[in-house]
């Protein structure tokens, strides 16, 4: 029976990964349009130049460099589309960020025959990110299954797989897509350590947290959040455990400074320039975080699953009995939120990427909680109406009152009416409430899938 259960879980996870792969692979090299974020090339050029020249060379928008060389590099024909005629400022050594993601995409490109900067097309450099995305989904499942059981893990994995904003942003060569993997791994190792305190698990967690910083300096959030989790559990462990972890992971992360210092004084001046960037988030920062998400500099994509997941986070905070169990989800969310608000150089969509696995775990947890506590079904129902409504608006918004839209509206009204009727009974019909929950969740997932399929290059080109 247990074997059957595990087989079923892995089959379902496999199906989710197949769906995720199909959605991510579809138009992966044209959505977002090549060059909409030049960071994608920038990262890959760092890797390619480190491999071929031993020195990172790339495009930067930061001050702090001395001899900027302006160039035109027409990779992916960006000068015919997205580059807006602006030349690229090339710097050597490029030290905007640590080089790990660049080394991965650069190595991949090199192995696939790329030798010059114009070879590193979006078609090539985004391929490793497709794999990264599947790893992130699997690790989210793993974390969810460890904390709340396989059903929650599977639901979170499904939400990550079909969320349009995750589908699009997870293809991009952005460091956040890298450090989320090592962060999740670090959390998983530390949860195993909390179950059975073996030192090697602590070392693995510390190593994973330190590697996060090699993707991007905000990866330090992995060190911070895991230290807080260990500190919260200090009564169950040797008192110095959290300090031990903090020391190892910080010393490991500090190795990136020695990489930077090996290039001389440029490292210091670039980091100082990085630290004095404009605070570009603005006063509507939380509105932007919860609602419309900027994918690139001028493209937005609104996904109802994200605000629904934020609502789930706030709903879960009020469920006091769940708080301790939820710490490995809530602590990362609020640690990264603090870092996001503090660093805040812009409201680009990729800064939101590290939130997504934890947000969808929270949403999945709230849904499974509602399954067993039917009083919470009402909140879940309202939460899930958000993605249903937003997806319907996106899919049928341009078709005024089409027959299909009316059909969906009738379906939602029927579900809502059935839901309200449940509260008229003296003894609430649990089976019906659960049925409605399953129906509205299936609807949200299906419409998100459909929204994904609507994202064609033509749609994207006109999206704002």
């Amino acid at each position: 029976m247990v074997k059957l259960k595990y087989s079923l879980i892995f089959i379902l996870l496999g199906l989710i990964l197949v769906v995720a792969w199909s959605l991510r692979y579809r138009h992966y090299d044209v959505i977002p349009l090549p060059g909409e974020s030049q960071d994608e090339y920038s990262n890959s050029w760092v890797g390619l130049s480190l491999i071929r020249l031993g020195v990172p060379v790339s495009h930067t928008g930061l001050a702090g460099y001395q001899d900027t060389d302006y160039r035109y590099i027409n990779v992916d024909h960006i000068y015919q589309s997205t580059a807006r005629g602006l030349s690229l400022s090339i710097n050597r050594p490029w030290l905007d960020h640590p080089p790990l993601l660049g080394l991965i995409t650069g190595s991949w490109s090199y192995l696939r025959g790329a030798r010059v900067f114009s070879d590193t097309t979006a078609h090539l450099v985004r391929q490793p990110l497709l794999i990264f995305s599947l790893i992130t989904i699997s690790l989210t499942f793993w974390l969810g299954a460890m904390l709340f059981g396989a059903t929650t893990g599977l639901l979170a994995a499904l939400l990550l797989a079909v969320s349009p904003i995750v589908t699009v942003s997870s293809r991009m060569v952005q460091a956040e897509n890298g450090f989320i993997i090592s962060w999740l791994l670090g959390l998983i190792f530390i949860l195993y350590y909390l179950r059975s305190p073996r030192p090697w698990l602590l070392y693995l967690a510390a190593m994973a947290a330190a590697i996060s910083v090699w993707f991007k300096l905000p990866g330090i959030v992995a060190v911070i959040s895991i230290t807080i989790i260990l500190y919260q559990s200090r009564h169950r462990l040797a008192w110095f455990t959290w300090l031990h972890f903090l020391l190892i992971s910080t010393l490991g992360a500090a190795s990136v400074i020695f990489y930077g210092l090996s290039f001389g004084s440029t490292f210091t001046s670039v980091q100082l320039a990085n630290a004095s960037r404009t605070y570009g988030l603005g006063f509507d920062i939380l509105y932007k975080l919860f609602t419309a998400t900027k994918i690139t500099s001028d493209k937005f994509l609104t996904d109802g699953l994200v605000p629904a997941a934020w609502l789930a986070v706030f709903a879960l905070i009020h469920r006091l009995p769940l708080q301790r169990q939820l710490q490995p989800i809530l602590i990362p969310i609020f640690s990264y939120l603090c870092l996001y608000l503090y660093l805040g150089s812009g409201d680009y969509g990729w800064y939101h990427i590290p939130f997504f696995p934890f947000l969808f775990l929270a949403l999945a947890r709230y849904l499974t909680y509602s399954w067993s506590h039917v009083r919470s079904v009402f909140t879940s129902f309202l939460m899930l109406l958000l993605p249903v409504g937003i997806s319907l608006g996106k899919i049928y918004g341009s078709v005024s009152q089409s027959g299909l839209l009316s059909l969906w509206k009738v379906l939602i009204i029927l579900l809502s009416a059935a839901f309200i009727l449940c509260f008229c009974f003296q003894k609430r019909p649990v089976w019906l409430l659960r049925g409605i929950l399953v129906a509205i969740f299936s609807l949200a997932a299906y419409l998100s899938l459909k929204y994904n399929l609507m994202l064609t290059p033509d749609y994207w080109y006109h999206a704002t």
Binding site: S49, G54, V55
Partner: protein, 178 residues
């Protein structure tokens, strides 16, 4: 808590080994990176920046592509280049002069040829573009630039016409005389 106290938290027997590992890690990363930098080759870097990618096809037609947008960040350091390939096809590009390697008009044309990947050369007969090669005549306002090795005038527009387009050239020149 002081650093000394933090260190004291570690199991005593492993303290030295622990720090040795990190010192070796730092030294290893630093030295590897320094040694790796010795491989730097400026010519190879130039090739990596300028060489066309293998996925970029060579264009026979110089007017096939347009450079979309203007280099606003260049301030006054830009020049425009307009190619008129036939009576119905032309293309305009604004180029950042900081990214043009060379100070002559021919370098501006070479940069556009590099960007849009078409053939260009100059010889006694003048500017030759595209495939099959066509001779072009270039003007800045009403003045014909016969020597394309003259320095670029920032903010100017270099108009290059396929030499066969006599009527278009005459129409252009007459627009200046009016």
């Amino acid at each position: 808590m002081s650093f000394r106290a933090q260190v004291a938290c570690l199991p005593a027997g492993r303290r030295d080994l622990f720090f040795l590992i990190f010192i070796l890690l730092y030294a290893g990363i630093f030295l590897f990176s320094r040694l790796n930098q010795q491989r730097f080759d400026a010519d190879l870097l130039e090739t990596m920046i300028t060489q066309q990618g293998k996925y970029q096809g060579v264009s026979a037609d110089p007017c096939l592509h347009t450079i979309a947008g203007d280099p606003n960040s260049a301030g006054n350091q830009y020049a425009k280049l307009r190619l008129v390939c036939s009576a119905t096809r032309d293309t305009v590009a604004s180029l950042d002069l900081r990214a043009v390697k060379g100070a002559a008009w021919v370098d501006l044309i070479a940069e556009l040829a590099h960007l849009n990947n078409f053939y260009q050369s100059t010889d006694k007969s003048g500017l030759i573009l595209g495939s099959p090669p066509q001779i072009y005549r270039c003007f800045v306002e009403e003045t014909e630039i016969t020597d394309l090795h003259l320095p670029i005038v920032p903010r100017a527009i270099l108009n290059c016409f396929n030499a066969d387009l006599t009527s278009e050239i005459n129409a252009y020149l007459s627009s200046w005389s009016n």
